[in-house]
């Protein structure tokens, strides 16, 4: 047992920079402490350990942020915007003018990862990521602080995502372009990618326009064990055991992983044929054990006649995008940038 673990640890250390290895291993360790074998979750310890940053209306490296709370539901979104060209406007929240009347400014509604259980919109890893997104994609990012499992199971995260999308679409100050509308993209990593998919489905059914979906190693699964899951179990920070735990914590009690939330194109899934579903960019990390499910998702979209581009990063592990110290990060940013600007 210990022997095989040694092999595992050495392997993952070979494929990522040392500080990345430290970061993700630390998450793995602290998450192990937080999950209890009986399926409950040590939320206090989790909140204590999570590194958080406040919003900042003062621009830092070209980006400022502020939080918005829906008084009725308590749903919080953190809004990130490029700092105004005019320094005199720094430090002021302007909710009256649109982002631009001439250019299109993409608004990316971002769902952070954490397997539906961990992290928040103000977690340092996600705050930093969103700031980078703003700069690289010249976009506005709205990070949704959705309710998490196991306290709030399916469909809470999707409900919150849908509420956030509707809120974003209805803000006049997020409009841009000559057509004066909010140019929305949905994006997310891990569980956030899963949320993006399901919110996009709801949007398509309600005829709410979403221009594109960006799914960063999205969290999907199913009852059967795929080849990649067997091959990569425990090798690169993630185990099947923990994946199972998170699905049990998110899905309704008694459900299995073929529930359509987990397995949208599985035996209980549905086709999206004929639905006005947004184009998708699906990013798969070659060392992610659930890649077979992600690839199956891509196939499912194709079979439904939907537009999808697959970015397969062969040597990437999960979480490669937290630190800009590897090729995959820059590849991803370039693809995302192109994706949100290809409509203009």
């Amino acid at each position: 047992m210990a022997g095989s673990n040694e092999v595992n640890l050495n392997e993952s250390k070979r494929v990522v920079p040392l500080n990345t290895w430290v970061l993700i291993s630390n998450f793995k360790l602290s998450y192990n402490l937080q999950r209890r074998p009986d399926g409950t979750f040590n939320r206090d310890l989790s909140e204590f350990l999570d590194r958080r940053v406040p919003a900042n209306i003062n621009p830092v490296d070209g980006v400022f942020s502020f939080d918005h709370v829906d008084g009725a539901t308590g749903l919080l979104n953190r809004v990130y915007q490029p700092s105004p060209k005019n320094e005199a406007q720094w430090g002021i929240v302007d909710l009256e003018k649109p982002l631009s009347t001439t250019e299109v400014v993409p608004v990316i509604v971002f769902f952070h990862g954490g397997s539906f259980t961990h992290s928040s919109a103000n977690s340092a890893i996600y705050d930093t990521f969103c700031r980078r997104l703003v700069n690289i994609c010249k976009a506005v990012v709205v990070s949704v602080n959705y309710r998490r499992s196991p306290e709030h199971r399916y469909p809470c995260a999707y409900d919150d995502g849908w509420a956030a999308l509707k809120w974003v679409k209805s803000r006049t100050w997020l409009q841009s372009g000559k057509d004066s509308k909010v140019h929305v993209y949905l994006a997310g990593d891990s569980s956030g990618g899963n949320i993006a998919h399901h919110v996009a489905v709801r949007a398509a059914e309600a005829d709410v326009e979403v221009l594109g979906n960006i799914l960063l190693h999205p969290m999907f699964g199913g009852q059967m064990r795929t080849e990649s899951e067997k091959r990569l179990d425990g090798k690169y920070f993630v185990t099947l055991h923990d994946r199972d735990w998170y699905w049990r914590a998110y899905l309704p009690e008694g459900e299995d992983r073929d529930h359509p939330a987990c397995n949208p194109f599985g035996p209980r899934g549905r086709t999206l044929e004929g639905l006005k579903f947004p184009k998708s960019l699906v990013v798969v990390a070659g060392l992610d054990l659930i890649q077979d499910w992600q690839l199956a998702y891509v196939e499912g979209l194709k079979k439904s006649g939907q537009e999808v581009k697959l970015l397969f990063l062969e040597k990437a592990t999960i979480g490669f995008y937290f630190l800009p110290n590897n090729d995959h990060f820059y590849r991803l940013m370039e693809e995302m940038n192109n994706f949100v600007h290809s409509n203009c």
Partner: protein
Amino acid sequence: MKRDHNHLQPNPDPSSLRGAPSTGKAKVWDEESAQQDCGMDELLAVLGYKVKTSDMAEVAQKLEQLEEVMCNVQDDGISHLASETVHYNPSDLSTWLESMLSELNPPSTFDPFGAAGTAAAALDDSFLVPAESSTLTTLDFDNINRKHQKSGQQIFEEASCSDYDLKAIPGKAIYSQKTQPQTHDSSSSSTPTNVKSEKRFKSTSGPPSPSDIFPPPPPPAAASYGIPTASTRPVVLVDSQENGIRLVHALMACAEAVQQNNLNLAEALVKQIGFLAISQAGAMRKVATYFAEALARRIYRFYPQNPLDHSFSDVLHMHFYETCPYLKFAHFTANQAILEAFEGKKRVHVIDFSMNQGMQWPALMQALALRVGGPPAFRLTGFGPPSHDNSDHLQEVGCKLAQFAKKIHVEFEYRGFVANSLADLDASMLDLRPSEVEAVAVNSVFELHKLLARPGAIDKVFSVVKQMKPELVTIVEQEANHNGPVFLDRFTESLHFYSTLFDSLEGSVSSQDKVMSEVYLGKQICNVVACEGVDRIERHESLTQWRNRLSTAGFSPVHLGSNAFKQASMLLALFAGGDGYGVEENNGCLMLGWHNRPLITTSAWKLTNKTTAISQ
């Protein structure tokens, strides 16, 4: 920091050389702090983790060791790491990992009942005072007349000790290990389980001083570490405030006009604000009204009257205490730290700079009373401003506390000092006893910032505190920078800060409490905006700023841990509208915030160098 970066390039981080991009878009992420990194890995720092580049391999090794140990041990072996171990300062990865490793492999030479313990016990015997005696003395700095305790004084009854919500402090708060509260029997029972759990507590509660490991904190300019700096301004908008944005802009325009001494314009704008405010609802209207009034006072030079009658300000303070969790959080977290610092001490002395109605102390005394091994002798010295009537306010507070102490069988001694400013204090007044005999904790809740109004005052107070040779100094302050040199900046910061505070009050059940709390906060707003010089006492500063002051003055951080965090969270959950409140851990300090906006911070400190604590 206020730069517009259009280019992105990968950071030439030495620790990433193995995986560094050699092809393609070689872009560098231009971090301004590159020259200030103190050896820290910048990429991890921005994510909230402080790891020196040179320590990276060692930290990795600890992670591997922990992984291995956790695989080899049964499930039970690690579950206690999650449920019972107290964790401290998770940003300091190296120390955090080390503390868990030593949890799982306790050092064999550890002896919780070492020589020091027995020596202290021997000393204490000779000082033992008959149980249940409480002595009460008051030294009134301005007025040596003693007044008899007034019975039935309304103010104090509202804060009567029996009403103090001890349920808000669950039993576990009293000790950090998961043992049931013992009886009041003061004989200590050292059963094997007690030994084990105490040992566990000690091995994690006493991490090596961070100042031994870390270089002194970086100067505030290191903005890109992702920790709040003096120039971070968190803004949270509640949807109702979206409509109030115009009002906010008008307020800021008015403040700008005031700053530029364009008083005609300012006057016109103030009137406009009045109209705009009426159309608003809820918190926004009230906040705008207070700020407008303060601006008007500044414009017309109609400054606020002298500080309120003491009894009225007590009433306001009390309602504020009841309405929202800020004061309770402050007292609770400070008490938790004090309890830990007083572990094993037989005589303790709390010096409270923020005595008010003494509401912080019953809970601490109760916790001490229930301590394993029995309560220490408890001495309390309290400071407060003079009253405007002839009442001896501090004396009354002391009497009430003495009664309470008697009820719970804690030996109690009290002294009250009246002074206009803490800077008038001298260590010689305090009848300090040797630190081997009596452990001292100094406590200040929302008081220190007032000293910044007078040059030299804060330094004098720090120097006096050092002479007290405290085990611990607990400080609670507002998390905001309302003391910048530029009026407009102060105005804008405080506008956002108080908007958030007022918003958090909206959910209050009792409207009378709410109104009183708003008046209480309104006085602060008035002071920040309308006053200057020595009259402007609400000079709030952020944690980063206080950290700098304290470390310069010769204090080092003492970390508050996951147990205090958890219990503070539980406390918050008891408040209606508790959904918006949250506790955050920040490098060993605890922050209470509303919808992610930190509002108050509790920090704890000790002398960096005990032997040089001589008067300067």
